[in-house]
Symmetry: C2
Subunit: 406 residues, 2 copies
């Protein structure tokens, strides 16, 4: 019997991260070189405290693939620098790795989680019997470098495109002038906001305004666009990233905010939609509403994309294959071969080239008045949002989910 | 050839109101006594200005059934008292009814729209060649009297139950104490908030707190419930109606609000979730987030209930049948015959007994700690949320909708 495999999840949830976990379990079970399969509860934080669940005999992989959020739980834990040999958390992890005879450690997460994989790989480098460390990507934000896109983005993009289409329909019914501001996740990268623009990019006229965090936001420009649109349409719909900043780099409306930061030092954002709602009410005076799509854009598994879920599963499998080959300190990445028919190849990249770095919307896709840009964005996003995921409805008509948390 | 039929939509949208329109068109087409079928654009407001679309040859009824919001547009227009013989809007409507030879006027809407039907029936009573006036119910709020429920409620309830289930899953992943407050539509009636409670009523433990507008809200009680829950669970989820009031009948957090009212004199509400978020942050100090489900709870046609859509269609048909029988000043209503297997009978009720009145959650269902109440609520709501509605996705994977607005 070979060494055992440990898999855990970290960072923010998505509709696809459990599909990646299912792929890891499926592949690990087929590998003769792997003994038992353990799931770490609440990421490295729970693992260092010895919280492991034995997943070796877990069978409900299809239901797990249709479960939103994270069946193993998550954490937001920033490890100390890799060269702090005496840090308690590294000592604790070393003890757990030994106790459970872990030969393979797969960590599913986004930018911050790849920082964890990077530090673990460096800290344990050269230690006899240390596991290999493999990063497996996920983030709805789609902001990891060196991968065409990230699992979870396709499902969030599908939720945003279809929900935006419904909101456009809902707000079109009255003849009185009204402005609707839809606030979308994405601290620095506008990938999700681009997805909310799909009803327009595919030939419609709305959303009228699309504001990416990559493009400096000017309040006067925004008000002018609203006024211009109101001249020919009673309803204005704006898709606005939560992370839009002014020319000085300050978050729009930040003067009205607390300045609180999360454990990674990121500014805690909320309410740019509410801020712009107030601005329009004050400066234009028409009916105005803001909508924050909030958690729904990352947890709406009922609207997940089959393409995303199946790819997330395949990425989990690829992570196991790379780990068994002995790769360490690397992350699985997606290389796109073609848009139509959509084809990709999975490979691995050095974790140092990913951790803590962000992939923004490229310069050439920021001019959203350009129809060629619309076509290119559609070519990029549309293959990722196709297909419906089978739902596991219980006797009441609600969804049954998998959870390994007690 | 008989007289012509005019149908219009009014008030707030839902995922089912276009299915009722489809039912009206389907039934009117089969009636030999009906000539052409006209759709009034933007309710009585557009009709009085002569904005009618000819729907006689419209064929895409199945796609119309899957379209959210209102394909004919809406208005929020309160008619003057019925005895104001010289009011311009009545004169204008009379002219349009004559010009288009309207024998049947069906108005699809909620409480306020039934006020319109009531006034029209009284105003035109006894006039030769005046149309019959038939109210056809819709409102996600489920607050019309004399009907077991209203079309649109089932789809909104399904959205709320499934989305709440996903939010519960999303918020369960971290081990750090956190409170999530979900704000749900319903000015005076708690029917939608009850639907958000279905994950608990069907055997789960969350949402931990369910606050109906029918039950006076006490901030100290709420904070105590949050603290109690945090003792055994790191995550608290609260489903809170936008319309909760304190013991004096004042909206919770209203002191922080503008006091603005809509055209019907209803207080304009927003932000009880944000208010409670601030309260928890200040008094308990843990991580707290509020989520406003906003328009999505009424326009999420992608998650519509087939039971609701088919019933809404049947109610449209029943409205035509009653109008052809010569009934006027009445509304189609649903009488429930059995929960399981679910069975209903459609009938009509006098519009005076419906207009401007509200059906609240009954007293006996307000004690949500009682498991017998959970069972009764499930028996009531669950039949209304079953089944999936076929989606009309275009070449891009987005939904194609019908609109008669140009």
């Amino acid at each position: 019997m070979g060494k055992n495999l440990l898999v855990a999840q970290s960072g923010g949830p998505s509709a696809a991260i459990n599909a990646t976990l299912a792929g890891v379990i499926a592949a690990a079970r087929e590998e003769e070189g792997i003994g038992r399969i353990y799931g770490g509860i609440h990421g490295v934080e729970g693992i260092q405290a010895g919280r492991l669940a034995d997943l070796t005999d877990f069978q409900e992989l299809e239901k797990l693939k249709a479960t939103p959020a994270m069946a193993l739980g998550s954490c937001r834990c920033k490890l100390p620098p890799a060269d702090q040999r005496d840090a308690a958390i590294y000592q604790n992890l070393r003890r757990v790795f030994r106790e459970y005879d872990i030969g393979y450690f797969l960590y599913i997460g986004g930018n911050d989680s790849m920082d964890t994989v990077c530090k673990l790989a460096h800290h344990f480098a050269g230690e006899p019997n240390a596991p290999v460390f493999m990063g497996v990507p996920k983030t709805i934000d789609n902001d990891l470098p060196l991968t065409d896109h990230t699992p979870g983005y396709g499902s969030a993009a599908k939720y945003l495109a279809i929900t935006m289409n419904e909101i456009i329909q809902d707000t079109a019914i009255y003849a009185v002038p009204a402005v609707t501001i839809v606030e979308i996740m994405g601290r620095n990268a506008g990938w999700l906001t681009l997805a909310a623009g799909l009803p327009r990019f595919t030939g419609g006229t709305k959303p009228d305004i699309i504001a990416l965090p990559e493009v400096p936001f000017d309040e006067e420009d925004f008000l002018r666009q609203v006024r211009d649109t109101l001249r020919h349409s009673p309803n204005v719909v704006a898709a606005v990233s939560e992370g839009i900043r002014d020319r000085n780099g300050d978050y729009v409306g930040s003067s009205a905010k607390s300045g609180a930061v999360d454990t990674f030092g990121h500014a805690y954002l909320s309410g740019v939609g509410k801020y712009l709602e107030g601005l329009v009410k004050r400066e234009i005076g028409c009916k105005v509403r803001s909508i924050e799509l909030n958690l729904m854009q990352r947890c709406s598994a009922h609207l997940a994309s089959l393409a995303d879920i199946e790819e997330a599963f395949a990425i989990g499998r690829a992570g196991v294959a790379a780990a068994v080959r002995g790769e360490t300190g690397r992350m699985v990445a997606v290389e796109r071969l073609a848009d139509s028919p959509y084809a990709v190849r999975l490979r691995t990249v050095a974790i140092e080239e990913v951790a803590n770095l962000e992939q923004l919307v490229p310069e050439k896709w920021r001019n959203l008045e350009n129809h060629k840009v619309h076509r290119e964005i559609c070519d990029y996003i549309l293959p990722l949002i196709q297909g419906e995921v089978p739902q596991f409805r219980n006797e009441f008509g609600l969804n049954d989910y998998i959870s390994f948390l007690n």
